[in-house]
């Protein structure tokens, strides 16, 4: 299945580098879109279905952490996979990002490190239990 990918970074050169890494990988890439801050990224996600966000943290207007909170609070967008790509080294902040369901790659990164984290997030999503509201409340289900 093709992955629609959104690259969010305030630095154009970094967006190009991350985009090139994705394009040259074995990932089956559909749309590859770029945004310069969290606000632009949310607007892009409302216009186009995005499967994976590659997200910088330090950005003007809306930073990566604020974007991630807004994303997870939005029922239409919250399912997107997110990998943060940042110079961030603070363990408390990295833990907060992980609690919001984001993977993490430290800048500077090698292309294979970014792709390995993307694969890990995709594998994690495949392995995640699905929401089954009918099954959960199904009176026909045998009691354990």
């Amino acid at each position: 299945m093709k992955l629609n990918i959104l690259v969010v970074d305030d630095n154009r050169m970094m967006r190009e580098m991350v985009s090139r890494t994705v394009r040259m990988s074995a990932l089956d890439v559909g749309e590859l879109i770029q945004a310069g801050n969290g606000q632009e990224a949310l607007a892009a996600m409302r216009a186009t279905w995005i499967d994976l966000v590659l997200l910088d943290l330090n950005m003007p207007v809306m930073d990566g952490e604020a974007f991630l909170r807004a994303l997870r609070a939005d029922t239409a967008l919250r399912a997107a996979l997110v990998v943060v790509v940042s110079t961030e080294s603070s363990q408390p902040r990295i833990a907060r990002l992980a609690a919001l369901g984001a993977g993490f790659v430290h800048k500077p990164f090698r292309p294979e490190e970014l792709l390995a984290e993307v694969e890990r997030q995709i594998a994690g999503q495949r392995g995640a239990p699905h929401d089954c509201p009918q099954a959960a409340g199904n009176p026909m289900r045998a009691a354990p």
Partner: protein, 146 residues
């Protein structure tokens, strides 16, 4: 900075520039005077500590960054905007990594947007100032406070 911190800082600088510009670190260089700089970038930070980082690049360094990060099409030369973007990203990554090296993994910082500043002698008023020089086979870094 203590001598041990300066060594740690230089190791961090060497690692970042090595990864981003694919340049071998050759060691400590002289501080870059204003007239020897092609580009200079300023990054403010606040949080567990507050201050500023200034990164000055000698001619050729920004081009080396562009060639590694987003190489231009064959026959094309990078624009001034390309060189500025590369220098800004280098300063951003240096700031994040240096602050972690010097303050540890529990410290938290907010980094401001990197901004180009006119070349000037590396200011002793900055919390850190780094001058990067291309040398035969790699790069050398001068750092303030030494």
């Amino acid at each position: 900075m203590s001598p041990a911190s300066t060594d740690d800082a230089l190791r961090t600088i060497a690692g970042v520039v090595g990864d981003l510009a694919f340049l071998t670190p050759l060691g400590v260089g002289p501080l870059l005077a204003a007239g020897e700089q092609e580009l200079a970038v300023h990054v403010a930070f606040r949080g567990s500590a507050s201050g500023t980082l200034v990164v000055a690049l000698a001619p050729g360094l920004a081009r080396a960054l562009v060639d590694n990060l987003a190489p231009p099409e064959p026959g094309c030369t990078p624009t001034a905007e390309d060189l500025a973007d590369a220098a800004k990203e280098l300063a951003n990554v240096l700031a994040g990594n240096l602050l972690a090296t010097l303050h540890g993994a529990q410290a938290e910082f907010q980094l401001g947007s990197p901004e180009l500043v006119p070349p000037a002698d590396l200011p002793a008023t900055a919390t850190f100032a780094i001058g990067l020089i291309l040398a035969e086979g790699g790069m050398m870094a001068g750092i303030l406070p030494a």
